[in-house]
């Protein structure tokens, strides 16, 4: 199983990566991208089973990436979990309407991420 972690914060990418590793996924099986544009480049070249993305990023934010992934490419049905500080109801609705499968508000509990990842993977 391959996982794509998209976040402009290196700290967040490491945190999420540690959680993923706790699930038994090796470090070689997940990639990192610091903005939506670089993530789109990776998605265009590799196949991923799950996309974990932030919202507020430079160049291309997470919402734009989700809309682009759902509109074109070979990841239209790939599960997407948005991990962001945007905790407003309107933002959650907007992301879900854009095609996000699940939503996590920062700061998050690692157990919650594990449970949601387990649910997505299964």
């Amino acid at each position: 199983m391959r996982i794509l972690i998209v976040d402009d914060s290196s700290t967040m990418r490491r945190i999420i990566g540690n959680v993923v590793m706790q699930l038994g996924i090796d470090k070689e099986n997940f990639d990192e991208a610091e903005d939506g544009l670089k993530a789109w480049n990776l998605l265009s070249n590799k196949k991923y089973d799950v996309i974990l993305t932030d919202w507020n990023m430079p160049n291309m934010n997470g919402l734009e990436l989700v809309k682009k992934v759902r509109a074109e490419g070979n990841h239209k049905t790939t599960p997407i979990i948005m991990i962001t500080t945007e905790g407003g109801k309107a933002e959650v609705i907007t992301a879900l309407k854009a095609g996000v499968n699940n939503y996590i508000v920062k700061p998050f509990n690692a157990q919650i991420l594990k449970e949601k990842l387990d649910g997505v993977i299964k």
Binding site: D7, S9, S10, T11, M12, R14, I15, N18, V19, Q22, N56, T85, K106, P107, F108, N109, A110
Partner: protein
């Protein structure tokens, strides 16, 4: 100088009172009657003359009063910003003073003349006239009192004029420049360091090079500093994460080593159990087996402890999320600051203000080496040689 009716009557009564005195006095007074009558005529003539002088003086005073009224009216009609020059004020005061002096002198002369006339008239009668010194003194005193009254009136007029002029001066402080005013301002102890009046300069404008630099933009550029804070924080967070990760890795290695120990212990346990069962009489086998049974659970306990420490490390890593949250808060502040800066530039930017000179010293500043009036005059004198 004018004598009131009461004073004239008292004067006249003072002369009539001589009839009521003793016979000696009466005889003398009878003798004096004629002279008194004559003196009375003279006195009346004197009084009449005095009154005429007073009227002249009144007219003169009235003239000067009219002038003063005209001056005051003209002053009121003028613009408030118009200031009465010191020279005008001084000339007016001097005129009043000179007029008073002249009046005083004239009054004094008249008094002396009247007195002399009186005395000479008395003497010309050829009779020893023991002039009633008291009457003469009374006359003189009356004349003097009248003079004082007039002086007071003049003085009050002068005081009123000076008060009015002082009020006018107080409303025109802006136009008055003197050392006392400047000293008063310097004594206000304005904290120019807080206000930075003395060092206030306008920031360097890209559009114009006429402004001086207010602050060092490389040192206190706020967005740049906040970006640097974020960068430094990110760097330190990465170091912390590396340390936490190394601890996790060390725990994993320890857990792996414990697995090996656990396998060994299990194998040894089986061996000792077999030996103990076949050779029950060999005490060493049973003792070793007992010792091994005590130790065989230790690797599992250590592994559990390591797992608990790993959970603590994961909790610490989760708390590192707040670094990212704080970074976003700082970026929010940067956005607000940048937006405010743009709005302020829009509000305050005025190309027409380019090149406006700003004084290096203003009253109230704590600028060192400020010349006082004496120094200034000396410098002017020195350079004008």
């Amino acid at each position: 100088m004018s004598m009131s009716q009461e004073e004239i009557e008292s004067l006249m009564n003072g002369l009539d009172l001589g009839e009521n005195e003793t016979s000696d006095q009466e005889s003398i007074e009878e003798e004096d009657t004629d002279s008194v009558n004559m003196s009375e005529d003279d006195i009346e003539a004197l009084i009449a003359e005095t009154n005429s002088n007073v009227k002249e003086m009144d007219s003169d005073v009235s003239v000067s009063n009219d002038d003063i009224d005209d001056l005051l009216a003209s002053l009121e009609n003028e613009d408030s910003t118009t200031s009465v020059s010191d020279e005008d004020i001084d000339s007016l005061i001097n005129d009043l003073a000179n007029e008073k002096i002249e009046d005083d002198e004239e009054t004094e002369i008249n008094l002396e003349n009247d007195t002399d006339d009186l005395i000479s008239d008395l003497k010309s009668e050829g009779e020893e006239v023991s002039a009633d010194n008291e009457d003469i003194d009374a006359l003189i005193n009356n004349l003097t009192q009248n003079e004082h009254i007039e002086d007071n009136k003049k003085t009050s007029n002068k005081d009123e004029i000076e008060d009015l002029l002082s009020e006018i001066e107080s409303t025109n402080n802006d136009s008055i420049v003197d050392d006392d005013y400047l000293k008063e301002l310097d004594s206000l102890n304005i904290d120019t360091d807080a206000v930075s009046l003395a060092t206030l300069d306008v920031s360097k404008n890209k559009k114009s090079d006429n402004y001086e630099k207010v602050v060092d933009l490389d040192k206190i550029n706020i967005p740049s500093q906040l970006t640097q804070v974020n960068s430094d924080s990110e760097e330190k967070a990465t170091v912390i994460f590396d340390i936490l990760s190394s601890i996790l890795d060390a725990n994993n290695e320890t857990r792996n080593a414990l697995t090996e120990f656990e396998k060994f212990f299990q194998s040894q346990q089986k061996l000792l159990e077999t030996l103990n069962s076949k050779f029950p009489n060999v005490k060493e086998f049973s003792d070793s087996l007992d010792s091994l049974n005590l130790l065989i659970s230790k690797p599992a306990e250590i592994s559990t402890s390591l797992s608990n420490r790993d959970n603590d490390l994961f909790s610490a890593m989760e708390l590192m999320q707040f670094h990212d949250i704080n970074r976003q808060k700082i970026e929010r502040v940067m956005r607000v600051v940048t937006s405010l800066s743009r709005q302020l530039n829009t509000i305050l930017d005025d190309e027409s203000f380019d090149g406006v000179p700003v004084s290096k010293h203003l009253p109230g500043d704590n600028t060192p080496d400020i010349v006082n009036h004496d120094d200034l005059e000396s410098l002017i004198a020195e350079y004008n040689k």
